[in-house]
């Protein structure tokens, strides 16, 4: 059970990072690439949810982890930050692909979402306070 949950949790994280990579590509590349946002949006959502759901499930499954452990609380806060900014990117690029807006989401949204995911990875590996 633990191995399957860990696999799905990590796979979700890889999917999330891949979609962030696509958002950076939309920002740096030509307008044509933004058409990919129609698949990036649902996949980003799927990756985000998988990270959270299987992460919390793991916390319940593993003896010694508690949901209120400092590193898990930090992870949930960072997940919310990446969720808020990642959602802004997803919606922004989808609106751009639909022709509703012509302007890309702000660079700061890309930076904050990426930084939150990088900090999440650091938190998952070092597990401060565990």
């Amino acid at each position: 059970m633990y191995e399957t949950l860990l696999f799905l949790h990590v796979l979700g994280a890889f999917l999330l990072v891949a979609m962030l990579g696509l958002y950076w590509a939309f920002y740096a590349g030509s307008d044509s690439l933004v058409r990919l946002s129609r698949i990036a949006f649902p996949l980003w959502g799927l990756g985000s949810l998988a990270v959270l759901v299987f992460g919390i499930w793991l916390a319940f499954d593993v003896s010694g982890y508690q949901l209120w452990d400092a590193w898990i609380v930090v992870a949930i806060v960072l997940w919310l930050v990446q969720g808020a900014f990642g959602s802004q990117l997803s919606q922004g690029y989808k609106r751009m692909a639909d022709g509703v807006v012509a302007q890309r989401p702000a660079l700061s949204a890309h930076v904050v979402a990426t930084a939150a995911v990088a900090l999440l990875l650091i938190d998952m590996i070092w597990k401060p306070g565990a």
Binding site: E3, A18, G21, S30, L33, R35, V62, L121
Partner: protein, 154 residues
Amino acid sequence: MTYLLIRPDSWNLPLFVHVAGAMVVTAALVVTVGSLALAWRATGEERAAITRFGFRTLLYAGIPAYLVMRIGAEWILSREHIPTDNEPGWVGVGYLTADTGGILILISTVLAGVGVRKLRGGGGGGLAKAATVLASLVVVLYVIAIWAMTTKPS
């Protein structure tokens, strides 16, 4: 209920380098596959621009991240002191997927690069398509690697 296994602190940095490199190389491959696949249906300058973007993503992000992932893998393996004469199956799967993936990334980069050059003369579409297929195959290989690294089959 699974019991908690504490990883020595000295493993954290090599593990971070390995996982971060793996995440970036996978992201670079997904961006490459997405852009090269879009180029299949594009025409003229748009097709050349998207193909060039896919090629540059592999060259400037995919290959460096692959090297970081691979160096991180050797680093963490050296910390784990796994006997070379009795390697567990997941280490073998890791080597196989990483090394096969590395070769395919190099071939994809060359194919996409030559394809970009040939697109200027009107050809090269087939090469870019081949690069797309190979890069997609590497993504599949890396999903297998993620499965092996997390479930650690004997």
